[in-house]
Protein backbone atom coordinates (compact mmCIF):
# COMPACT_ATOMS: atom_id res chain seq x y z
CA UNK A 1 0.00 0.00 0.00
CA UNK A 2 1.44 3.41 -0.91
CA UNK A 3 1.61 6.37 1.46
CA UNK A 4 -1.51 8.09 0.15
CA UNK A 5 -3.58 4.93 0.53
CA UNK A 6 -2.27 4.49 4.07
CA UNK A 7 -3.20 8.08 4.89
CA UNK A 8 -6.71 7.66 3.43
CA UNK A 9 -7.18 4.43 5.39
CA UNK A 10 -5.90 6.07 8.58
CA UNK A 11 -8.32 8.95 8.03
CA UNK A 12 -11.11 6.37 8.05
CA UNK A 13 -9.91 5.21 11.46
CA UNK A 14 -7.59 2.38 10.35
CA UNK A 15 -5.04 2.42 13.15
CA UNK A 16 -2.93 -0.29 11.55
CA UNK A 17 -2.45 1.88 8.48
CA UNK A 18 -1.53 4.82 10.67
CA UNK A 19 0.99 2.70 12.59
CA UNK A 20 2.70 1.81 9.32
CA UNK A 21 3.12 5.52 8.71
CA UNK A 22 4.40 5.87 12.28
CA UNK A 23 7.04 3.22 11.67
CA UNK A 24 8.09 4.95 8.45
CA UNK A 25 8.51 8.39 10.04
CA UNK A 26 9.28 7.77 13.69
CA UNK A 27 13.06 7.88 13.20
CA UNK A 28 12.96 11.27 11.51
CA UNK A 29 10.51 12.79 13.97
CA UNK A 30 12.42 11.47 16.97
CA UNK A 31 15.72 12.86 15.65
CA UNK A 32 14.18 16.26 14.93
CA UNK A 33 12.84 16.39 18.48
CA UNK A 34 16.15 15.15 19.88
CA UNK A 35 18.16 17.87 18.15
CA UNK A 36 15.70 20.61 19.04
CA UNK A 37 15.26 19.59 22.66
CA UNK A 38 18.64 17.99 23.37
CA UNK A 39 17.19 15.34 25.66
CA UNK A 40 16.45 11.76 24.58
CA UNK A 41 13.66 11.00 27.06
CA UNK A 42 11.95 14.29 26.43
CA UNK A 43 12.32 13.80 22.67
CA UNK A 44 10.70 10.35 22.93
CA UNK A 45 7.76 11.72 24.93
CA UNK A 46 7.27 14.61 22.53
CA UNK A 47 7.45 12.28 19.51
CA UNK A 48 4.79 10.07 21.04
CA UNK A 49 2.65 13.09 21.77
CA UNK A 50 3.11 14.32 18.20
CA UNK A 51 1.98 11.00 16.69
CA UNK A 52 -1.05 10.89 18.96
CA UNK A 53 -1.86 14.46 18.00
CA UNK A 54 -1.32 13.60 14.31
CA UNK A 55 -3.73 10.65 14.55
CA UNK A 56 -6.37 12.80 16.19
CA UNK A 57 -5.89 15.63 13.72
CA UNK A 58 -5.57 13.47 10.60
CA UNK A 59 -8.96 14.64 9.36
CA UNK A 60 -7.39 18.09 8.96
CA UNK A 61 -4.75 16.79 6.55
CA UNK A 62 -5.84 17.91 3.08
CA UNK A 63 -3.09 16.50 0.90
CA UNK A 64 0.35 17.81 0.03
CA UNK A 65 3.53 16.61 1.66
CA UNK A 66 2.67 14.29 4.53
CA UNK A 67 6.27 14.51 5.70
CA UNK A 68 5.99 18.29 5.99
CA UNK A 69 2.68 17.93 7.82
CA UNK A 70 4.24 15.55 10.35
CA UNK A 71 7.28 17.78 10.74
CA UNK A 72 5.01 20.68 11.53
CA UNK A 73 3.32 18.56 14.19
CA UNK A 74 6.62 17.62 15.82
CA UNK A 75 8.08 21.12 15.73
CA UNK A 76 4.88 22.50 17.28
CA UNK A 77 5.10 19.84 20.00
CA UNK A 78 8.74 20.84 20.61
CA UNK A 79 7.77 24.51 20.85
CA UNK A 80 5.11 23.60 23.42
CA UNK A 81 7.57 21.50 25.39
CA UNK A 82 10.19 24.25 25.42
CA UNK A 83 7.64 26.76 26.58
CA UNK A 84 6.56 24.42 29.38
CA UNK A 85 10.11 23.66 30.48
CA UNK A 86 11.66 27.05 30.02
CA UNK A 87 13.20 26.85 33.46
CA UNK A 88 14.18 23.21 33.22
CA UNK A 89 17.81 22.85 34.41
CA UNK A 90 20.21 21.59 31.76
CA UNK A 91 23.66 20.09 32.03
CA UNK A 92 26.25 22.72 31.33
CA UNK A 93 29.15 22.09 28.99
CA UNK A 94 31.22 24.49 31.02
CA UNK A 95 33.77 22.76 33.23
CA UNK A 96 32.39 24.31 36.41
CA UNK A 97 28.94 24.68 37.88
CA UNK A 98 27.46 28.08 38.61
CA UNK A 99 28.71 27.76 42.20
CA UNK A 100 32.26 27.32 40.92
CA UNK A 101 32.40 23.61 41.72
CA UNK A 102 33.53 20.94 39.32
CA UNK A 103 30.72 19.71 37.10
CA UNK A 104 30.56 15.96 37.65
CA UNK A 105 27.87 15.49 35.03
CA UNK A 106 29.83 16.89 32.11
CA UNK A 107 29.70 14.50 29.16
CA UNK A 108 33.49 14.34 28.84
CA UNK A 109 33.80 13.11 32.42
CA UNK A 110 31.82 9.93 31.75
CA UNK A 111 33.76 6.68 32.02
CA UNK A 112 35.06 6.10 28.51
CA UNK A 113 37.83 3.59 29.18
CA UNK A 114 36.12 0.85 27.15
CA UNK A 115 35.21 3.07 24.21
CA UNK A 116 37.54 3.47 21.22
CA UNK A 117 39.25 6.86 20.99
CA UNK A 118 37.60 7.72 17.71
CA UNK A 119 34.15 7.14 19.16
CA UNK A 120 34.98 9.28 22.17
CA UNK A 121 36.00 12.13 19.92
CA UNK A 122 32.85 11.69 17.86
CA UNK A 123 30.70 11.85 20.98
CA UNK A 124 32.46 14.93 22.25
CA UNK A 125 31.98 16.64 18.93
CA UNK A 126 28.32 15.69 18.94
CA UNK A 127 27.92 17.15 22.43
CA UNK A 128 29.63 20.35 21.32
CA UNK A 129 27.39 20.72 18.28
CA UNK A 130 24.30 19.95 20.35
CA UNK A 131 25.39 22.57 22.88
CA UNK A 132 25.75 25.14 20.10
CA UNK A 133 22.37 24.17 18.64
CA UNK A 134 20.71 24.72 22.01
CA UNK A 135 22.27 28.17 22.24
CA UNK A 136 20.36 29.23 19.12
CA UNK A 137 16.98 30.94 19.31
CA UNK A 138 14.22 28.41 18.70
CA UNK A 139 13.23 29.76 15.29
CA UNK A 140 16.83 29.45 14.02
CA UNK A 141 17.35 26.05 15.64
CA UNK A 142 14.32 24.52 13.95
CA UNK A 143 15.38 25.69 10.51
CA UNK A 144 18.96 24.47 10.84
CA UNK A 145 17.86 21.09 12.25
CA UNK A 146 15.50 20.51 9.34
CA UNK A 147 17.82 21.81 6.62
CA UNK A 148 21.32 20.77 7.70
CA UNK A 149 20.76 17.78 9.98
CA UNK A 150 17.69 16.26 8.33
CA UNK A 151 18.74 17.35 4.85
CA UNK A 152 15.44 18.93 3.77
CA UNK A 153 15.56 21.45 0.94
CA UNK A 154 14.40 25.05 1.42
CA UNK A 155 10.92 24.41 0.03
CA UNK A 156 10.31 21.47 2.34
CA UNK A 157 11.49 23.51 5.32
CA UNK A 158 9.26 26.41 4.29
CA UNK A 159 6.32 24.04 3.92
CA UNK A 160 6.93 22.31 7.23
CA UNK A 161 7.32 25.52 9.20
CA UNK A 162 4.81 27.56 7.17
CA UNK A 163 7.42 30.21 6.49
CA UNK A 164 8.17 32.21 3.35
CA UNK A 165 11.16 30.91 1.41
CA UNK A 166 13.07 34.14 2.03
CA UNK A 167 12.67 33.74 5.80
CA UNK A 168 14.03 30.21 5.62
CA UNK A 169 17.06 31.42 3.65
CA UNK A 170 17.73 34.24 6.06
CA UNK A 171 17.27 32.18 9.24
CA UNK A 172 19.43 29.36 7.96
CA UNK A 173 22.26 31.74 7.02
CA UNK A 174 22.16 33.45 10.42
CA UNK A 175 21.94 30.14 12.24
CA UNK A 176 25.00 28.85 10.40
CA UNK A 177 26.93 32.01 11.23
CA UNK A 178 26.05 31.73 14.94
CA UNK A 179 26.90 28.03 14.98
CA UNK A 180 30.21 28.76 13.35
CA UNK A 181 31.03 31.32 16.05
CA UNK A 182 29.95 28.96 18.81
CA UNK A 183 31.91 26.01 17.42
CA UNK A 184 35.05 28.09 17.47
CA UNK A 185 34.94 27.63 21.24
CA UNK A 186 35.41 23.89 20.70
CA UNK A 187 38.42 24.19 18.43
CA UNK A 188 40.23 21.19 19.91
CA UNK A 189 37.24 18.90 19.41
CA UNK A 190 36.87 19.64 15.73
CA UNK A 191 38.41 17.21 13.25
CA UNK A 192 41.41 18.80 11.51
CA UNK A 193 39.53 19.04 8.24
CA UNK A 194 36.73 20.97 9.94
CA UNK A 195 38.74 23.39 12.03
CA UNK A 196 37.25 26.74 11.34
CA UNK A 197 39.37 29.78 10.82
CA UNK A 198 39.75 31.74 14.05
Amino acid sequence: MDELSLIRAAQQGDLEAFNRLVLAYQGMLFNVALRILGDEDLAADVTQEAFLSAFRGLHAYRGGSFKAWLLRTITNACYDELRRNKRRPTISLEPETEEGEENENAPWLADTTSIPQQEIEQRELEHAIQHCLESLPMEFRTVVVLADIQGLDYREVALALRLPLGTVKSRLARARLRLRDCLQGFWELLPTAFRLER
Partner: protein, 215 residues
Protein backbone atom coordinates in the same frame (compact mmCIF):
# COMPACT_ATOMS: atom_id res chain seq x y z
CA UNK B 1 33.15 36.74 8.46
CA UNK B 2 31.28 38.84 10.96
CA UNK B 3 31.92 41.89 8.77
CA UNK B 4 29.84 40.35 5.99
CA UNK B 5 26.71 42.22 5.07
CA UNK B 6 23.48 40.46 5.83
CA UNK B 7 22.70 40.17 2.13
CA UNK B 8 26.08 38.64 1.34
CA UNK B 9 25.69 36.13 4.17
CA UNK B 10 22.27 35.02 2.96
CA UNK B 11 23.47 34.80 -0.63
CA UNK B 12 26.53 32.74 0.29
CA UNK B 13 24.45 30.36 2.39
CA UNK B 14 21.89 29.91 -0.39
CA UNK B 15 24.66 29.53 -2.98
CA UNK B 16 26.14 26.72 -0.89
CA UNK B 17 22.82 24.89 -1.05
CA UNK B 18 22.32 25.56 -4.77
CA UNK B 19 19.32 27.74 -3.97
CA UNK B 20 20.38 30.86 -5.87
CA UNK B 21 18.94 31.74 -9.25
CA UNK B 22 21.47 31.20 -12.08
CA UNK B 23 21.97 34.93 -12.66
CA UNK B 24 22.53 35.59 -8.94
CA UNK B 25 24.88 32.63 -8.68
CA UNK B 26 26.92 33.92 -11.61
CA UNK B 27 27.26 37.38 -10.10
CA UNK B 28 28.30 35.87 -6.77
CA UNK B 29 30.87 33.63 -8.43
CA UNK B 30 32.41 36.68 -10.08
CA UNK B 31 32.71 38.39 -6.72
CA UNK B 32 34.07 35.22 -5.10
CA UNK B 33 36.87 35.14 -7.64
CA UNK B 34 37.87 38.67 -6.65
CA UNK B 35 37.14 38.90 -2.90
CA UNK B 36 39.17 36.73 -0.54
CA UNK B 37 36.97 37.59 2.46
CA UNK B 38 33.91 36.35 0.64
CA UNK B 39 35.74 33.17 -0.35
CA UNK B 40 36.77 32.54 3.29
CA UNK B 41 33.24 33.16 4.51
CA UNK B 42 31.90 30.65 2.02
CA UNK B 43 34.44 28.09 3.20
CA UNK B 44 33.46 28.69 6.85
CA UNK B 45 29.81 28.15 6.03
CA UNK B 46 30.67 25.02 4.07
CA UNK B 47 32.58 23.57 7.02
CA UNK B 48 29.87 24.45 9.51
CA UNK B 49 27.28 22.76 7.31
CA UNK B 50 29.55 19.70 6.93
CA UNK B 51 29.86 19.42 10.72
CA UNK B 52 26.10 19.57 11.13
CA UNK B 53 25.55 17.02 8.40
CA UNK B 54 27.72 14.50 10.17
CA UNK B 55 25.56 14.56 13.29
CA UNK B 56 24.51 10.92 13.75
CA UNK B 57 20.88 9.87 13.46
CA UNK B 58 19.85 8.12 16.68
CA UNK B 59 17.60 5.09 16.81
CA UNK B 60 14.35 5.82 18.62
CA UNK B 61 14.36 4.16 22.06
CA UNK B 62 11.02 2.49 21.30
CA UNK B 63 8.30 2.24 18.71
CA UNK B 64 5.78 5.02 18.78
CA UNK B 65 2.92 3.02 17.30
CA UNK B 66 -0.47 3.57 18.90
CA UNK B 67 -2.40 0.77 20.60
CA UNK B 68 -5.62 -0.42 18.93
CA UNK B 69 -7.73 0.48 21.95
CA UNK B 70 -6.87 4.12 21.30
CA UNK B 71 -9.06 4.09 18.19
CA UNK B 72 -12.07 6.30 18.60
CA UNK B 73 -11.24 6.83 22.24
CA UNK B 74 -11.18 10.30 23.64
CA UNK B 75 -10.97 11.27 27.26
CA UNK B 76 -14.13 12.92 28.52
CA UNK B 77 -13.80 16.47 29.68
CA UNK B 78 -13.26 16.40 33.47
CA UNK B 79 -16.44 17.47 35.28
CA UNK B 80 -14.58 19.86 37.54
CA UNK B 81 -12.88 21.52 34.59
CA UNK B 82 -16.22 21.78 32.80
CA UNK B 83 -17.89 23.33 35.84
CA UNK B 84 -15.03 25.79 36.29
CA UNK B 85 -15.15 26.76 32.61
CA UNK B 86 -18.89 27.45 32.76
CA UNK B 87 -18.50 29.37 36.01
CA UNK B 88 -15.74 31.43 34.44
CA UNK B 89 -17.90 32.18 31.41
CA UNK B 90 -20.89 33.08 33.56
CA UNK B 91 -18.82 35.50 35.66
CA UNK B 92 -17.47 37.19 32.56
CA UNK B 93 -20.92 37.42 31.02
CA UNK B 94 -22.50 38.96 34.11
CA UNK B 95 -19.54 41.29 34.46
CA UNK B 96 -19.86 42.64 30.94
CA UNK B 97 -23.63 42.95 31.16
CA UNK B 98 -23.30 44.93 34.40
CA UNK B 99 -20.48 47.00 32.95
CA UNK B 100 -22.50 47.67 29.79
CA UNK B 101 -25.60 48.73 31.67
CA UNK B 102 -23.50 51.05 33.83
CA UNK B 103 -21.81 52.60 30.81
CA UNK B 104 -25.10 53.09 28.96
CA UNK B 105 -26.64 54.42 32.15
CA UNK B 106 -23.87 56.99 32.42
CA UNK B 107 -24.24 57.94 28.79
CA UNK B 108 -27.98 58.43 29.05
CA UNK B 109 -27.51 60.55 32.16
CA UNK B 110 -24.86 62.61 30.48
CA UNK B 111 -27.10 63.28 27.50
CA UNK B 112 -30.45 63.70 29.20
CA UNK B 113 -29.90 65.02 32.72
CA UNK B 114 -28.51 68.51 33.13
CA UNK B 115 -27.88 67.68 36.78
CA UNK B 116 -25.51 64.92 35.82
CA UNK B 117 -23.57 67.25 33.59
CA UNK B 118 -23.54 70.01 36.12
CA UNK B 119 -22.38 67.77 38.99
CA UNK B 120 -20.05 65.09 37.64
CA UNK B 121 -18.49 64.53 41.06
CA UNK B 122 -21.70 63.07 42.37
CA UNK B 123 -21.94 60.59 39.54
CA UNK B 124 -18.37 59.43 39.88
CA UNK B 125 -17.92 59.49 43.62
CA UNK B 126 -21.13 59.87 45.59
CA UNK B 127 -22.68 56.48 46.14
CA UNK B 128 -24.97 56.94 49.05
CA UNK B 129 -26.16 60.48 48.86
CA UNK B 130 -28.92 60.13 46.24
CA UNK B 131 -30.34 57.09 48.00
CA UNK B 132 -30.30 58.91 51.29
CA UNK B 133 -32.14 61.78 49.69
CA UNK B 134 -34.85 59.45 48.51
CA UNK B 135 -35.13 57.87 51.89
CA UNK B 136 -35.33 61.22 53.56
CA UNK B 137 -38.01 62.24 51.07
CA UNK B 138 -40.06 59.23 51.90
CA UNK B 139 -39.69 59.86 55.60
CA UNK B 140 -39.72 63.58 56.23
CA UNK B 141 -40.20 65.12 52.82
CA UNK B 142 -37.21 67.36 53.47
CA UNK B 143 -36.12 69.04 50.24
CA UNK B 144 -32.57 68.23 49.05
CA UNK B 145 -30.42 70.07 46.47
CA UNK B 146 -31.73 67.69 43.79
CA UNK B 147 -35.29 68.65 44.59
CA UNK B 148 -34.42 72.29 44.55
CA UNK B 149 -33.00 71.84 41.05
CA UNK B 150 -36.30 70.73 39.52
CA UNK B 151 -38.42 73.43 37.91
CA UNK B 152 -41.00 74.73 40.36
CA UNK B 153 -43.88 73.56 38.18
CA UNK B 154 -42.83 69.95 38.73
CA UNK B 155 -41.82 70.07 42.38
CA UNK B 156 -44.43 72.26 43.91
CA UNK B 157 -47.71 70.46 43.43
CA UNK B 158 -47.28 66.64 43.08
CA UNK B 159 -48.01 64.30 45.95
CA UNK B 160 -45.05 63.00 48.03
CA UNK B 161 -45.17 59.58 46.23
CA UNK B 162 -44.91 61.29 42.87
CA UNK B 163 -41.96 63.35 44.05
CA UNK B 164 -40.14 60.25 45.22
CA UNK B 165 -40.74 58.61 41.86
CA UNK B 166 -39.36 61.54 39.93
CA UNK B 167 -36.27 61.47 42.10
CA UNK B 168 -35.70 57.80 41.43
CA UNK B 169 -36.00 58.41 37.71
CA UNK B 170 -33.60 61.29 37.79
CA UNK B 171 -30.80 59.50 39.63
CA UNK B 172 -30.25 56.07 38.09
CA UNK B 173 -26.52 56.41 38.75
CA UNK B 174 -26.84 55.04 42.25
CA UNK B 175 -28.59 51.91 41.00
CA UNK B 176 -26.29 51.12 38.09
CA UNK B 177 -23.05 51.58 40.02
CA UNK B 178 -20.93 48.47 40.52
CA UNK B 179 -19.15 47.80 43.81
CA UNK B 180 -15.40 48.22 43.44
CA UNK B 181 -14.66 44.57 44.22
CA UNK B 182 -16.69 43.56 41.19
CA UNK B 183 -13.89 44.78 38.93
CA UNK B 184 -11.85 41.79 40.12
CA UNK B 185 -14.37 39.52 38.37
CA UNK B 186 -12.35 39.13 35.13
CA UNK B 187 -9.31 38.06 37.16
CA UNK B 188 -11.36 35.48 39.06
CA UNK B 189 -12.80 34.32 35.75
CA UNK B 190 -9.35 33.93 34.19
CA UNK B 191 -8.12 32.12 37.28
CA UNK B 192 -10.95 29.60 37.05
CA UNK B 193 -10.31 29.15 33.35
CA UNK B 194 -6.61 28.56 34.07
CA UNK B 195 -7.41 25.88 36.65
CA UNK B 196 -9.83 24.24 34.23
CA UNK B 197 -7.19 24.26 31.50
CA UNK B 198 -4.59 22.78 33.86
CA UNK B 199 -6.96 20.00 34.89
CA UNK B 200 -7.73 19.15 31.28
CA UNK B 201 -4.06 19.11 30.37
CA UNK B 202 -3.17 16.83 33.29
CA UNK B 203 -5.96 14.52 32.28
CA UNK B 204 -4.79 14.38 28.65
CA UNK B 205 -1.27 13.52 29.77
CA UNK B 206 -2.56 10.71 31.98
CA UNK B 207 -4.66 9.52 29.05
CA UNK B 208 -1.64 9.45 26.75
CA UNK B 209 0.47 7.54 29.27
CA UNK B 210 -2.27 4.97 29.64
CA UNK B 211 -3.04 4.39 26.00
CA UNK B 212 0.29 4.72 24.30
CA UNK B 213 2.42 1.67 23.59
CA UNK B 214 5.89 1.40 25.11
CA UNK B 215 7.25 -1.57 23.21
Amino acid sequence: MNELSSRDLIQLSAYLDGELRPAEAKRLEQRLAEEDALQRALEDLRQTRALLRQMPQRHPPRNFTLKPRLRGLRPPFPRTALALSWASLAILLVFFIALGSRLFGDLSIASSSPMAVARPMEIGGGTEEPMMSIQSMEGTLTPTPEIAYFPPAETASPAPEMRAMSLEESSPVSESRLPSWWFGAPIVSLLLLGIAFGLRRAQLRAFQRRFMSRD
